[in-house]
Amino acid sequence: MRFLPHTNIERQDMLAAIGVGSIDDLFADIPAAKRLTAPLDLPRGKSEAAVARALSAMAGKNVAAASVPFFVGCGAYKHHVPATVDHLIQRSEFLTSYTPYQPEIAQGTLQMLFEFQTQVAMLTGMEVANASMYDGSTGTAEAVLMAHRITRRRKAVLSGGLHPHYAEVVRTLSRMARDEVVSLPPDVFAREALVDAIDADTSCIVVQTPDVFGNPRDLRAIARACHAKGALLIAVFTEAVSLGLLESPGAMDADIVVGEGQSIGNALNFGGPYLGLFATRQKYVRQMPGRLAGETVDAAGRRGFVLTLSTREQHIRREKATSNICTNSGLCALAFSIHLSLLGETGLRRLARINHANAVKLADMLARAPNVEVMNETFFNEFTIRVKGDAATVIERLADRDILGGVPVSRLLPNAGLDDLIIVANTEVNTDEDREAFVAALEGVA
């Protein structure tokens, strides 16, 4: 077996050095009746070529985004990632190192995390950010728990524009933790009265911007109303590129900002691994979940970085920790940080403008198409359309014509009576030809 270095003679020598007769002597603590004697009912090992053949066959049954006109979003976005990013994250010293518990020999990871935290804080308009969560949805659930700790209240209000799967993750954890959640109904036009939902028991309001239907939300009035009643505003985003063009949640007075960072530096990966971004105000830092890298000096007085404020974490605080999180999304954070360093402010703003310009073009083309209605007046790179008939069927028919045309709302909200809506994303990877093909095909099937 190519990954296992020992020869059988070496194994025998080692057993002799240990002072046992056979390998099974080392497994003697396993109750004899429960020890496996026969091999597992699984195939024997394969050569590298055979493994590649088997997995390539499976991969070949999937339609890759780059191979078709592609307009699917709703929490994960197809962007171009520079080749440099994937090369660098595959450097042995980044890819195959552990959590930086020995800072003297992990300064690369620690400095990268410090830079990442700073980039996330700047992008979100907040003061501090952590070293990442699993993804945007679990980060949102953690943000709700954090708000409960800060306000000592246990009721969260979820906007009807929050990604339905994010809402479901929050509801699942809250139900288990016996906290209250109020979910407002799906809000296609961003007309919900969030301010009216705040009462004296409300710990936090969770608002996504742009929301799942694509509408950018002005958070300022909601923030004011929250703060007047002692509640916190949690702002969520699923498209990090939007922050290159839209006002930051921090500038609109959010208290906790959490989002999905996949769209910068990371591939679609059929849903994971992704990257949870998490930022807040300095005054709440000790209630924040997750790891934090901080600056300090070494014994020779040189600048260096360490993991810090660990007393919040499970390995020290155990059942009193702010979260149970341990492993996070380190390598995805590195990909994000490298891509964002390459973009810089100039590149990010330009990328965001291109995304918006492409979406505006597509919206205008769709608005002219028969049988299609564009629901949004405002959007970033994603908006909602209404078609005649069942949207899921329309999407299937488009797929038959090799076009991945968006997400039918019924896939996310099966019983909401929104079966004729499709959420359509349009990023910098889409060309005029893609858009023309999409609109033409839609006219044929809708």
Binding site: R286, S310, T311, I316, R317, K320
Partner: protein, 125 residues
């Protein structure tokens, strides 16, 4: 007659009239190592004897501080926020945590005096 009393969890309370100054002992600060953060109660809050009233953190550990007596918090040592190291330097002096209005002086009888605490520490060695 000393006016300072000690708990088995290494808190002290120094009583003057009906108020007491609460903190952790020199033994406690030594065992914790460099203290980096102290989470203090709010002024006006009331605690029963034995309630968790504060948290003291070193780099690698977090320990709860329990109220030595029942009563209302009348003052806290806000300086610890900027200078938690004061607990290491002078735990009984500038490293104090909070002042409490002692609700029931009889509770003091259940605590150790200086000699008893010194003897108690010897049993831990």
């Amino acid at each position: 007659m000393s006016n300072t009393y000690y708990t088995r969890d290494h808190e002290y309370i120094r009583v003057d009239g009906d108020t007491g100054v609460v903190g952790v002992t020199d033994h406690a600060q030594h065992a914790l190592g460099d203290i980096v953060y102290v989470e203090l109660p709010e002024v006006g809050a009331s605690f029963k004897r034995g309630d968790q009233v504060a948290v003291v953190e070193s780099v690698k550990a977090a320990s709860e501080v329990f109220a030595p007596v029942t009563g209302e918090v009348v003052a806290i040592n806000g300086a610890l926020e900027k200078e938690p190291g004061a607990v290491n330097e002078a735990p009984l002096d500038k490293g104090w945590f909070y002042k409490v209005r002692v609700a029931d002086r009889a509770e003091l009888d259940g605590l150790m005096d200086e000699a008893a605490y010194a003897a108690f520490l010897k049993t831990l060695a």
